[in-house]
Symmetry: D2
Subunit: 342 residues, 4 copies
């Protein structure tokens, strides 16, 4: 049986990526594409690379028959997302890709997003979508909160180290290198080719990036004590990919073993041989996350480097992985395409 | 039943692309990877993006048991290719990605490749691998000569116009823009990031590019008269993709109709609405070829633009498409992944 | 004596490039930067790479004392440009970088720019800014119309061939590859890094690009007969540079000699040895234009390739070169910086 | 009076950059270009972007008349450099761009470069070329050891903080993002456009990068106690530029004041307003270094980010700056060109 899929907010990059992944998914079919500002448009008007694919035209939310949908991906900006999801049928399975349900606590949401959360009852029932760590809850969930792409990668790198207490919780730095598509299809001067290409810069410096809300919540919960990491993202002239360089205090062998044993049976998280480091080119266009570990020359200092594709494992691939679980399909279904290199 | 696949010459980009495509092909499995200079290596040593995939290690040609192989892709440099294929079992199905069997005539081969062809009996039996135009012959073939990537694109753009005589055969210019991976994983100064990025240049100017041998052969055969086109390739700072801008004399509506009617039932060739033009970004990582047509302001002058991914539709995807036919599978099997954008 | 320079419209790329060039010009000093929408801002707010340079803040047009200015560059969008220039003091020397005064005829302007020209008296007195061909007139001019960047390059490649009648005037094709900065600092989706990088596409196909107005005017004037060329620009993932591939009918040696003899004493136009072709990387950041010639394998068909930096020789460098002449300085002053490679 | 300049090893990127800078230097002229493997070649054979510039052909070392040279830049690989410099006339002023004389101690050299130093007497007399901190010694020196590009940037960021003791010396992390030209014009697979573009990876992880030898030496000397920092470089798909993200323990205001007061009179080091961060695009092609400071959300943790162009301020620009001092010219002569943006 093919599952009938709806996508709300299909005109952004994560929407296009969902369509790409569903195109070769053996059990999913796109039945509705919802977008009020571009209602009536065809997807080929919005993304010319989808010209050869038969897809429904975009429809208004109000005109969409959600009774004919089994599961809905919601790829809207935060705030809009909670408003829209609040209007969806109660029994519809929903995977939200926005930030609206990532934080469990309305105060935290307000702190990081400077908006009052208006759907706190949905916020309470949402399950955090980091599949490898919330798998069982996701299976029975009605609403999944897809994680931030940086937050996903950072947690893949750090969670096993915190669970196994092999690092100093007070001394964690994540220096991230993030491709431009992470900012979405936004009309921003710094995202123009002329400005973003051929160079690199930091942004959201000083611990102001919103994904810190997720780190604080998840890592503290895991450690059963407050953890505050340092996190500085940098904009890289590449379209896809995030690389996280984690600087921690702890023994590199213990760290390696902790990561290796945690992930050795995971289908999408691959720990490289000790000392070998991943590049974002290694995982481009795929749902895989690669992790490498090395000890620094300084006593008891270690470096862990992780890489994933922000649009796939960092958002739309993760969303499909979670949807597979919610639909009682094999978790890896439609997601094992190899990375695109070069 | 899964077909057992061998790849000879797996350490180049077309080899890696074959592995990528087979990884999600429902009826193919890689059983042998052959490479004498890197025999004993694992594919993850050669291509780190394949680290998570279970693949056989590279073996020496001599040690490889070809009896256990149903079909073999050969992704070696020309000249080496004919030598190696000459030693393969006679009943083995072979798809060659090199230039060795593209030209039907030993003299033409010598003219363009400055080498004497030493396997002229194989040259005679080889079928030219432009699937859409040699489909029936490919089904029963033992040896397929994969086309040049530029030659494939140029023919997709031009063949219907020649068949239907809607253009002046004496006045055809192909200005091509070719991504760097078309040159392979070669240690050439002009392929370094520092030299190739952030700019564009022509190469093989003056009608010296070897793919002209294919154009001359195929277009003349089709027209039943000698056709010599002009073809100037340019190196573009992108990893994948070829864009062909064809300048022809002929009525743009007739040209459009000729292309549209020829390709409307083809699964991988997509003619855009009149006046809409493709980009290489539209087809990246996919087996699709997009074509657009427009009339110039000058009377009776038309411009046709085609785009494909040189590593997929231009070589390894085409090879899989042909292999599907040879193995009596559906031609599109494992090849309908959507383009990767952005 | 240092010439006092004003720049109107300093917040775009050509404005920034003017400031870059003037920074090391021994006889020019920026005295006023005019920009109504960003009046009061510092240049470092608008272009962070100018942070270390002492520059006047942006002022309102109305508040600017043009009596203290010797020469004014105007880097505004067309239409706005003619309005603003119409309000400048009559005795002020002006180099306009917009399209407003490139066409000598109000009807042509209306045809290509879909706007009525409201300053036809200025249009009549403006001198076309292609320095190498209008040098004497520029020396005494009050208003220079800077050329389009593509128009400049195309004319460098074609004018000597037309003057010396070594090519067929009815059969001229210019296939151009244009870097993204040619489109300016515009908020357009197709100029985002995610959309423009890693690929290539044509635009303004079919002979609709506005620079054709300049080609028509200048080449016809030169030939004393109407000349209509074909011109198709392509967007290349690079920040700076235009490459023109010209396809013409004519003998390549005669063509070479015609170009060589015309340019051998020009300081900024460099004709490469016969058969050697330029890349845009060769001229990046410089005021040089490189030109190469080769004969095609087809009888009497030749290919000429030219390269320049659209922001330097194609606009702001040309503007300084013209300003030098108007200010009675050496034409090359401040413009002989070598290309930036890699 | 014009100083007569020789360049030994002119076929690499730092050689080409020296020629670029000297081209507009009012007091330097290239009199000899020395390169044994390419002796007899013209520079336009080696770097096509220099085609329009009149330069001497490359000569053999043995045939070069060093009596006619006032100052010689040596841009050879390490080890070769000490051999060649050992053969130069004793009274020739030399600026070496290799690593051979950066470390004051032969043991340190052997430790980091795995080679025995054979010119320890030269090593002793060499002055470390970090201009802003060795200015007086450079003025009278005969042999300057140009710094590593990463080492220069890291020291610009860190030295004032160590001098003023505003940070914890035991807790310094430099996460660097380095453009590909830093690796030189080397035939390495990972430097090919297809491999380096569109992604990011770390290299020399675990504290193995050779520039650590310089950091250890210089920072320890400055602190009068051993300092060992962590330093992880990453390869970025850009041609020029290094960005250093320094993570330190210390008060951000004190850090800012320390940097600001140290550099406020320096011509090439520019400290941005507090909280504003540089990009490598800000300094491309220029001799400027930009530095920004911000406090992290974590108590007493600060982030300092520096950016420079590895080929200019990081090597060839620095070399010219030092040569200016040695030749008794104004330090900034020929070096104040503005950054090239976009």
């Amino acid at each position: 049986m093919t599952h009938r899929i709806g996508i709300i907010g299909a005109s952004g990059y994560t929407g296009a990526e969902l369509i790409r992944l569903i195109e070769t998914h053996p059990k999913m079919e796109v039945m509705a594409l919802v977008g009020n500002t571009k209602a009536g448009s065809s997807m080929s008007d919005i993304f010319s690379h989808l010209s050869h694919i038969k897809l429904p035209n975009l429809t208004n939310f109000e005109e969409t028959n959600f009774e004919e949908i089994d599961l809905c991906f919601c790829a809207l900006p935060h705030k809009t997302s909670q408003e829209v999801i609040g209007q969806l049928p109660k029994n519809l399975k929903i995977v939200d890709l926005s930030a609206d349900f990532r934080l469990r606590n309305a105060n935290d949401y307000e702190k990081w997003y400077k908006e009052t959360h208006i759907k706190t009852e949905l916020q309470k029932m949402a399950i955090y979508g980091l599949t490898e760590f919330y798998r069982e809850q996701i299976k029975g969930a009605k609403l999944i909160a897809g994680t931030g792409c940086n937050a996903a990668l950072g947690q893949y790198v750090l969670r096993p180290l915190i669970s196994s207490s092999v690092i100093d919780f007070g001394d964690i730095i994540l220096d991230m290198k993030c491709a431009v598509s992470g900012a979405g299809r936004a009309m921003r001067e710094d995202l123009l080719h002329s400005e973003a290409s051929e160079g690199v810069k930091a942004y959201a410096v000083g611990g102001t990036h919103r994904h810190l809300g997720e780190f604080d919540q998840e890592l503290s919960l895991l450690a059963r004590q407050p953890i505050k990491i340092q996190f500085t993202p940098h904009l890289i002239p590449a379209n896809r990919g995030v690389l996280a360089t984690a600087y921690v205090t702890g023994n590199s062998e213990k760290i390696y073993n902790s990561l290796y044993s945690r992930y050795k049976d995971e289908p999408f998280i691959h720990v490289l041989p000790f000392g070998k480091m991943p590049s974002t080119q290694d995982v481009r266009g795929s749902n895989y996350c690669y992790i490498g570990v090395v000890g620094d020359r300084k006593q008891d200092k270690s470096i862990i480097i992780g890489a994933l594709d922000n649009l796939t494992k960092g958002s739309s691939g993760q969303a499909i992985q979670n949807a597979n679980l919610m639909l009682n399909e094999k978790e890896t279904l439609g997601l094992q395409m190899a990375p695109v290199f070069p």
